[in-house]
Subunit: 98 residues, 4 copies
């Protein structure tokens, strides 16, 4: 059985800047802007994020133009941030050079 995740607690929110230093923490979402060398590199990254998202059945709100990719994560069913967002953000970060 899949338990629906709950919103992050105040404690969990406080840890976000440390866990996700490259993400901007908003009230109901987190976002990250990425710049790649060119479209080829940007779309290769997007293909990998697509796989990460589909496996989790948790999908980004994202946009791309040429070598730029903007990603916003939120748990829409809850109207805010859950651990699904944190886990996907961590997995996305692991695709990128530190």
């Amino acid at each position: 059985m899949i338990t629906m995740p709950s919103l992050l607690s105040a404690d969990q929110r406080q840890k976000l800047p440390a866990t996700l230093p490259n993400w901007t923490i908003h009230q109901q979402s987190i976002s990250r802007e990425l710049v790649f060398r060119d479209f080829n590199e940007a779309f290769g990254f997007m293909s990998r994020v697509a796989l990460l998202a589909e496996v989790r059945n948790h999908h980004p709100n994202w946009s791309n133009v040429y070598n730029r990719v903007s990603i916003t994560l939120s748990t829409h069913d809850l109207g805010g941030l859950s651990k699904l967002d944190v886990e996907l953000a961590v997995a996305i970060d692991q695709l990128l050079p530190a």
Copy 2:
């Protein structure tokens, strides 16, 4: 030699609604919103658009969330619409059921 395209003429703009009935014609861009069955179908479509764009070296400004894809085309170097946009839009339309 590649000739830089020029902005569409007033005459060419007038034909856009007939050529691209599914696109919204803005002053400096055209856009289309698409809804697919699920993320799998949406991302399969995006992979095909990525190939179309890279071949033309003309890339969309696009966004996706789950089964929705929004595409905006513009020729940034010219600050408006050129035939590169029309040709990519036509090619994108050909990927979709009529």
Copy 3:
């Protein structure tokens, strides 16, 4: 808990030709050959199969040249066919026109 699948029983094997009429049934695998209009269509399909495979953590042995895609499915850990193969094959078939 994930239960490791078992090999298909003789009864289950007998039903394969009816369930998967477009696949060739081998002793330890099933395979399907596909021809698309061009590389664009072939790779769009491959992107969708990649998502199907990753979600199931069950991946095809596949090859592509231009508009042709060959897919072979087998459950390597068992040395033969399990329901993982049948389920992925059915999902792949659902991507294609009937």
Copy 4:
């Protein structure tokens, strides 16, 4: 105008091992075997190769199973190796860590 490429000369063939140290040089083709961390990384790479191939209208004969990708390049119309193969191989190598 696109000039059809010709087969590599004997001189050009002799330089292949230096230009493409990670490829196996066959009489009529070149091939490279790659191993990635997992399917996600392998398919992200394949998406990038797909874009490289489509831009050149020169496509690989390739196969994948989980984290392994095998690529064979040949210019089928000529029945052997042309500079299209060398250029695509070099572009593929540039996607990979040195």
